[in-house]
């Protein structure tokens, strides 16, 4: 951000023919979320049918509109108006906690031992530490329904794998740096796997498709193997998945 930190926030940045990037903050903070969700809602109302997509993330909102129906300069002015009257989203501070039942086990969490060793903790203590916190969803991306959550206890903040896996099983619960996530579907991935959730994170048949949204509060709830299986969790161990 060198060369830009002096420029005043929030600001509007050019992001192509059909988009403006609203930069609200320059650092990741839970307090950002109430402003970003509020801005997202205000933009939905202000742009209506001229809106194509809104992509909120940690510190920004990308506003994509139809340049055949709305002149980019007019879109810019409209965004300035929205920013001028922006108040944080009160609802973002409360709300229910989404629970992800999670089986913490080395057979489905091959980096559990590595994370434990780094933290100088037992495997059980890692599971306890990971599941005690209430995380916030800072962004969705990478894959449909993949939620970047934080902030993780610094003791569990293991770096990404040197070589990403070609195939991470769906439901895998993972940590990397100060963030945690659960993989909605089979994808490549470089995060440390510490368990698996039975929650269906992305479902094309469900209203709204994604279980998690930006700003949501999330807790991982430890379950034993039989509960995990009863909830429909996949107990296939990583080595049989050919997960390497």
């Amino acid at each position: 951000m060198t060369g830009q930190v002096t420029a005043r926030l929030p600001r509007l940045e050019a992001a192509g023919l059909d988009a403006w990037l609203v930069r609200l903050f320059d650092a990741i903070d839970e307090a950002n979320l109430a402003w970003i969700t509020a801005l997202t809602r205000r933009c939905e109302a202000a742009f209506g049918a001229e809106l194509v997509d809104l992509v909120p993330s940690y510190t920004t909102l990308l506003v994509i509109f139809d340049p055949l129906r709305l002149d980019p300069e007019l879109a810019h002015r409209r965004l300035e108006g929205v920013l001028a009257g922006l108040v944080p989203d009160a609802a973002a501070e409360g709300g229910e906690i989404r629970e992800l039942p999670t089986w913490y086990d080395p057979s489905v969490g091959p980096e559990l031992a590595r994370v434990a060793e780094r933290a100088n903790m037992s495997i059980a203590a890692v599971a306890e530490c990971h599941s005690q916190a209430v995380y916030r969803v800072f962004a969705l991306g990478f894959a449909p329904g993949f939620a970047f959550m934080g902030l993780l206890d610094p003791r569990l903040a293991a770096p990404r794998l040197d070589t990403p896996r070609q195939r991470v099983p769906a439901g895998s619960v993972a940590v990397a740096g100060r963030q945690t996530a659960a993989y909605p579907a089979v994808t490549p991935g470089g995060w440390n796997l510490i368990g698996r959730t039975s929650a269906r994170l992305f479902d094309r048949e469900r209203e709204g498709f994604s279980l998690l949204r930006l700003g949501d509060r999330v807790r991982f709830v430890p379950v034993d193997r039989s509960t995990f299986e009863r909830q429909g969790g996949d107990t296939t161990p990583m080595d049989e998945e050919g997960g390497r």
């Binding site: 940690y58 340049p67 991306g141």
Partner: protein
């Protein structure tokens, strides 16, 4: 779907990559779902236009060639975009114009002659069940396509084609000026972005004056360009939404232009964004081809895009 439609085509050879694409999947990018849609909007739009389909109708994007299809009934077709050496019933198929496709005859794509991606449209359009509002096929996400599961075409697949929509007024063709020679000099229009001033040393000069080579690491997510190493004061950003055509520069200094199947957020500094038509043009480049980046003002890019789209309105 209440609308009557029947099987229209049978795949007799799959080739490396053939995907059903409508205009793309919109309104779900906040969930991490990418836009998909035709990598070359221009070729896709003309193929549909020629057979009388409305903007947004699903057509087949055929990459590199190899695909063979047999008509299960009489159809009207048009192929636009790349010349992949297509033949219809054994005869060379004229591109950028309509042709009658008789039941039982075979359309075969061979190898790239000019460009990389051909678009096959049939009158009435291909029909498939939309997924998250679109039939755009994104293999990585397992969404859309002829089967709804994001699969590329495979031998034995049956494709449904809508009834009607055909033109009874003989051969229609695209004007000569609309048929690019994809082998020619490529100048890609780029709208400078917010980090443009953070490229240091010769970085900015090189970006717009060097000759860039299209790498073989190129797909529907992005196209890597190789050339002089661009240096930027910023190594990485906090991940943020990225639009079609964004040209990001990772720490190795080699730009990557992001196309339709890119991830929805990313954290590398960007030179800016290719215009939609420049992104389309890049999608027709073969590995090894040379391109240049040209900074353009927004007003001009917008006028060009509006002119392009006006052909397809009404």
């Amino acid at each position: 779907m209440s609308e009557f439609h029947t099987t229209g085509l049978r795949v007799t050879r799959a080739g490396p990559l053939a995907l059903l694409q409508d205009a793309g999947r919109f309104g779900v990018r906040h969930l991490g779902v990418t836009q998909g849609g035709p990598a070359d909007l221009h070729g896709w739009a003309w193929a549909n236009r020629l057979v009388g389909n409305p903007w947004g109708a699903a057509a087949l994007e055929v990459t590199f060639g190899g695909l063979e299809l047999v008509a299960e009934r009489d159809l009207t077709l048009a192929v636009a975009g790349a010349d992949l050496g297509a033949t219809l019933d054994g005869e060379p198929l004229p591109l950028w114009q309509t042709a009658a496709w008789r039941e039982g005859t075979r359309l075969a794509f061979a190898m790239p002659v000019n460009g990389l991606r051909a678009y096959l449209a049939v009158a009435g359009g291909f029909r498939a069940e939309p997924v998250l509002g679109s039939v755009a096929c994104v293999v990585r996400e397992g969404l859309g396509g002829h089967d709804g599961l994001g699969h590329k075409l495979a031998e034995g697949d049956l494709l449904k084609v809508g009834e009607g929509g055909g033109r009874g007024d003989g051969v229609r063709s695209a004007p000569e000026a609309e048929r690019p020679d994809y082998r020619g000099a490529v100048r890609l229009a780029l709208l400078p972005g917010a980090q443009i001033g953070d490229f240091t040393g010769r970085g900015l000069f090189d970006a717009f004056n060097a000759v860039w080579r299209v790498d073989d690491r190129a797909d529907r997510m992005g196209v890597r360009l190789t050339g002089p190493r661009l240096r930027c004061r910023i190594e990485s950003l906090i991940s943020e939404g990225i639009g079609l055509g964004a040209v990001q520069v990772p720490p190795d200094g080699q730009p990557i232009a992001l196309l339709n199947d890119r991830q929805t957020i990313g954290g590398y500094p960007r030179l800016g964004a290719l215009t939609p038509l420049a992104a389309s043009r890049l999608a027709q480049c073969l590995p090894g081809q040379e391109v240049r980046l040209v900074a353009v003002p927004r007003e001009r890019a917008l006028a060009d895009y509006r002119r392009f789209r006006s052909v397809f309105e009404g």
